[in-house]
């Protein structure tokens, strides 16, 4: 049984530590905020200029001047501070954010990441993704293990080398898919290592669905 989106988010939340400042991408990463352990202080950064992001507002309490990087209405917390985009990305680029959890189209065994454009399709832009993966101390990717084509075909997303245009080179520390968890020695020679299996998933199944080389060190 592969993990659900919620289970993937829950697993990603285990990378949080007390006192962490964290930036969450759109999609499954956003769900991680639901699994912050009680008693743990985690401040969420929104790269459009906010630290200490609160939950969505109650209906009727939306404030057009208070949105997150996904342009959704949100709320503030007692810890909140606001700042400019330049200060926000100074914070990101300067290595002050402890953890970034984000989605991906492809990840290579050396930590290369592709998640912003598909040649031939309309390009929307990279937004803050390149800054986040280059600047944040630890980058965790949460994604489906394989891409599913419209015809039902499956193609691996964990590759020897990305063929889509890159968001960053040697930037990913960990990949959480619906099938398991991999660590990547992004700055060293250690390559990619499978460290956890989703319940009921076998090493063989993962091997069949992964193009990139990986060692196995289940814990």
């Amino acid at each position: 049984m592969a993990w659900t989106r919620e289970q993937m988010a829950e697993r990603a939340a285990r990378e949080l530590e007390d006192g962490f400042y964290v930036n969450l991408g759109i999609g499954i990463p956003t769900l991680v905020s639901n699994y912050i352990p009680e008693g743990m202080s985690v401040q969420l950064q929104s790269e459009n200029g906010m630290l200490g992001m609160g939950p969505f507002p109650y209906e009727g309490e939306e404030d057009p001047d208070l949105i997150n990087a996904g342009k959704q209405t949100i709320t503030a917390l007692p810890t909140t501070s606001y700042f400019s985009s330049a200060d926000s990305f100074g914070m990101i680029r300067g290595g002050h954010i402890d953890l970034s959890i984000l989605g991906a189209m492809q990840v290579a065994q050396n930590g290369d990441l592709a998640n912003w454009m598909i040649p031939g399709k309309m390009v929307k832009g990279m937004g803050g993704a390149m800054d986040l993966v280059a600047g944040v101390k630890k980058v965790v990717v949460v994604m489906e293990h394989v891409a599913k084509g419209k015809d039902g075909s499956e193609s691996p997303k964990l590759l020897k080398a990305c063929d889509l245009p890159l968001t960053g080179t040697q930037v990913v520390d960990m990949v959480i898919t619906d099938l398991g968890v991999f660590t990547i020695d992004k700055k060293g020679e250690g390559g990619m290592t499978l460290v956890e299996l989703a319940e009921g998933v076998t090493e063989d199944e993962i091997r069949a669905k992964t193009e990139g080389a990986f060692k196995v060190a289940l814990r």
Partner: protein, 245 residues
């Protein structure tokens, strides 16, 4: 030395010309100088290069200048919400230069601060670094990016005084403060215009020196791009989008 102008048209009088570069503050539809954008649309000025993180949505914000084909080129980080944009871009009618959001913010800040170029890790090894100098510092690779400076910047602030001192509100601050510093002339629209001395000088985000002209825009309804709410009955912990316990 009067900086206060009565309406958007007057505030932009004499500043617009075809082919110019304009910076426009805002993130999504949050903190955009919409009344000044409307006045630019009304002026008919064309072949604009517009520096803005986003390009508005269809018929709103910078989307209006796209509808009327007044924009030749966008310098942005993300333009996903605009169908007319996609149409013109795919049809080769519109040029786009994508910048990583932080690089865009820093290029503008650099332009305003007299810094012609700087190095950043962002984008090394990607399309963004193509054709740019890449250099190693202390064993890491960085790409050189250039400062940006415009002919005109238009910004939106919550409060301003007649000297041009500005205060932004919440996440409507975003790109406005840097853009205010990075143009030959900056025009600010403010929701509340007050006399000098009414804003605590420790709370001012943009000193008046950067503001050439200022304009009071009456409070009106602001657009929300992604209205996202939670039910009153739901426990807080179940709400996505952020959390702190």
């Amino acid at each position: 030395m009067k900086k206060v102008y009565p309406d958007p048209k007057a505030a932009l009088a004499g500043l617009l010309r075809d082919g110019m570069t304009i910076m426009a503050g805002g993130f999504g539809l949050c903190g955009i100088p919409d009344e000044l954008i409307d006045a630019i649309q009304a002026s008919g000025v064309k072949d604009l290069t517009v520096v803005s993180n986003n390009a508005g949505i269809d018929g709103v914000g910078l989307g209006k200048l796209l509808d009327t084909r007044q924009v030749k080129k966008m310098i942005s980080s993300y333009v996903g919400e605009n169908k007319e944009f996609a149409r013109q871009y795919l049809g080769g009618e519109l040029e786009i230069e994508f910048n990583p959001q932080g690089t865009l913010a820093e290029r503008i800040r650099a332009g305003g601060a007299g810094i012609p170029a700087f190095f950043t890790k962002t984008g090394v090894g990607t399309k963004v670094a193509e054709g740019k100098e890449v250099r190693e510092f202390d064993g890491e690779s960085y790409v050189m990016e250039r400062g940006l400076f415009a002919d005109l910047a238009i910004v939106h602030a919550w409060k301003g005084d007649t000297e041009g001192n500005l205060v932004y509100r919440k996440t409507a601050r975003n790109f406005n403060p840097m853009m205010a510093t990075a143009a030959e002339v900056t025009v600010a629209q403010v929701e509340h215009l007050v006399e000098p001395g009414k804003i605590d000088p420790d709370h001012i985000h943009t000193p008046g020196i950067f503001i050439g002209r200022i304009l009071h825009v009456p409070v009106r309804e602001k657009r929300i791009e992604q209205r996202t709410v939670r039910k009153r009955k739901e426990p807080e912990a179940a709400a996505a989008g952020g959390g702190q316990i």
